[in-house]
């Protein structure tokens, strides 16, 4: 497949735009110096990903991504950031000094994964996308073939719920807290 062929496909234009958005915002997620900005860029990256999923006619997953990821997870993130009042100013050092080794490791991973993908799949095409995946099929498969993982995931969620509450809840009364702070100081 030549580049010209590739360009000729209109969906690839859409892909290109989305991929650009995703890549740039992902880059900003890991480079932005402000936590809130990083989280908001993640929203953008996720929204782009949802677009990709629509492109791959995985509608249900796309909207699940929006509903759960953007609607809940990121909100939770922002909530957590604002509640902990973690340093959000731009002057705060949010990165280590060891950027170079980290970048090297990341690059290595990229080479490995991208390289293996390239060697393994060459120019395999994704085609026959017209049909889309009906939600019915997903529902049926979810509750038949994949019912065990489904249950496992629900238990994980339940455990996470309980664990989250247990961890985050404050047990000490203000007086006790005061005493603790005093002894720390």
């Amino acid at each position: 497949m030549t580049v010209a062929d590739w360009i000729a496909e209109p969906t690839n234009w859409v892909y290109l735009v989305l991929a650009l958005v995703i890549a740039v915002s992902a880059l900003r997620v890991v480079t932005s110096t402000n936590v809130v900005h990083a989280a908001l860029f993640l929203v953008l990256a996720l929204a782009g990903t949802a677009g990709l999923f629509l492109l791959l006619s995985a509608e249900f997953v796309a909207w699940v991504l929006v509903l759960v990821y953007i609607g809940a997870v990121i909100v939770l993130f922002l909530f957590g950031i604002m509640i902990t009042r973690a340093p959000t100013g731009p002057n705060v050092e949010v990165d280590h000094q060891r950027r170079a080794p980290a970048a090297m490791a990341a690059f290595l991973i990229f080479i490995v994964t991208a390289g293996s993908a390239l060697t393994a799949f060459g120019d395999k095409q994704i085609s026959n996308l017209g049909r889309g995946t009906s939600t019915e099929v997903i529902g049926e498969q979810l509750l038949q073939r994949f019912v065990i993982p489904f249950e496992v995931v629900s238990f994980v969620l339940l455990a996470a719920l309980i664990g989250g509450i247990t961890l985050a809840r404050k047990d000490a009364t203000p007086a006790e807290e005061m005493a603790r702070e005093g002894s720390d100081a």
Partner: protein, 394 residues
């Protein structure tokens, strides 16, 4: 409060506050629910209030000092501005106190007129509360219902005195004669305007009706219960220790009303109940006020029915000099006990005038009640005390 807190207020920058887990929240002095320029400095942990300090003084006008260079009639005009929601009621204890020093005998008719106006002022004040308190809790409509009837009451007061808020209608030894009235007027002719009795009866009927409307609209509302019942509970002991008086005190179950015990206007000739509620919470204070409106409306009608005719003014010299002496006179005002300690050295003005206002004592208890509540409860508790900053700061 101090310079630092002011700085903190101006530095709304969230980022600078981030290192502390607790946040200082400045409520006021410019805030919709502080009834003026009260400022609350709250240490909050999320929505939970750890510590709260009321800061006052933003409209301190030095009335006590000014009074030392004023004559008694001038002071009467001045003190109308203390509790501006019920301006007329502020005059009563001062005037009565000064009359006691002068040992003046005030004509009965003047006393009745004072009583009618004082009760109307109470109705007007309580109606403002009954409208604005739900508003602070988020319900906008009752305000309009309450203010609609308050207008009627204010109209009546205007027809008698010519003023709506700051009436300045009392004179030492009586009340101001209506324009053109002589000293010996007959009932229904000159001293009170034409149609005042009928108008009052009708207005009081409407006031009673609006109380029922308020009950239907808001007093039985589950959300109002949830917001006010059990919130900001004040014990009678707390109330007494802080000098909390008036409807707030009666909301804590103490049946104490200066109108019954202080013998300053012909209240003993009227039939009325002292309204109390046992709970001591915000809802009790609200309910007490609604019921007091009813009682006052009935009192106005009774007073109109039994008002004697006669002179409006005792004989007083042209330049009033109050004999040497001291007295403390207090009265049951809409906000609670208002009193004046008048020290006279025989001059045209007092040597020293101590103004004891209800709101000042009433809000001093706030920081004790608000410890550990949620931010919305601050508004609920603060609103339920029905204070006016003009009284607090004087």
């Amino acid at each position: 409060m101090d310079h630092e807190a002011m700085m903190a207020l101006s530095e709304v920058a969230v980022s600078l506050e981030l290192e502390t887990p607790e946040m200082t929240l400045n409520i006021g002095p410019q805030h919709p629910s502080t009834h003026g320029v009260l400022r609350l400095v709250a240490q909050v942990d999320g929505e939970r209030v750890r510590d709260i300090k009321p800061v006052i003084g933003y409209m301190h006008r030095g009335y006590e000092k000014i009074s030392e260079v004023r004559t008694y009639p001038q002071i009467t005009a001045l003190i109308n501005r203390l509790d501006w929601v019920a301006g007329y009621a502020n005059e009563i204890p001062f005037i009565v106190g000064a009359e006691r020093l002068m040992e003046l005998e005030v004509p009965d008719r003047a006393q009745y007129i004072r009583l009618i106006l004082a009760e109307m002022a109470r109705i007007a004040s309580h109606l403002v509360f009954c409208g604005s308190y739900p508003l602070e809790l988020g319900a906008g409509t009752p305000l309009f219902f309450a203010l609609r009837e308050r207008e009627r009451v204010l109209d009546l007061m205007e027809s008698v005195t010519g003023g709506r808020f700051h009436l300045n209608f009392n004179r030492l030894g009586g009340v101001k004669p209506a324009a053109g009235a002589g000293s010996n007027t007959r009932k229904d002719i000159q001293d009170l305007p034409k149609g005042f009795y009928e108008g009052s009866r009708e207005a009081m009927g409407r006031v009673l009706a609006v109380c029922d409307e308020l009950d239907q609209l808001i007093s039985g509302n589950e959300i109002l219960f949830a917001r006010t019942k059990g919130v900001g509970v004040m014990t009678p002991e707390q109330a007494a220790a802080y000098g909390v008086s008036g409807p707030n005190l009666r909301g804590s179950g103490v049946a104490f009303d200066l109108r019954k015990v202080e013998h300053y206007l012909p209240y003993d000739k009227l039939d009325f109940n002292v309204v109390t509620r046992q709970a001591g919470d915000c809802f009790a204070r609200y309910e007490v006020r609604v019921d007091e409106i009813r009682e006052s409306a009935k009192m106005v009608v009774q007073a109109i029915d039994s008002i004697p005719s006669g002179p409006l003014q005792a004989k007083v010299p042209k330049i009033i000099k109050v004999p040497k002496g001291e007295t403390y006179m207090r009265a049951e005002n809409p906000k609670g006990e208002m009193g004046y300690y008048i020290v006279s050295e025989g001059g045209t003005g007092p040597y020293r005038l101590k103004i004891r206002t209800a709101s000042f004592s009433n809000i001093s208890v706030l920081s004790e009640l608000m410890e550990g509540v949620l931010i919305p409860d601050i508004v609920a508790i603060m609103g339920s005390f029905d204070f006016v900053l003009g009284e607090v700061d004087r």
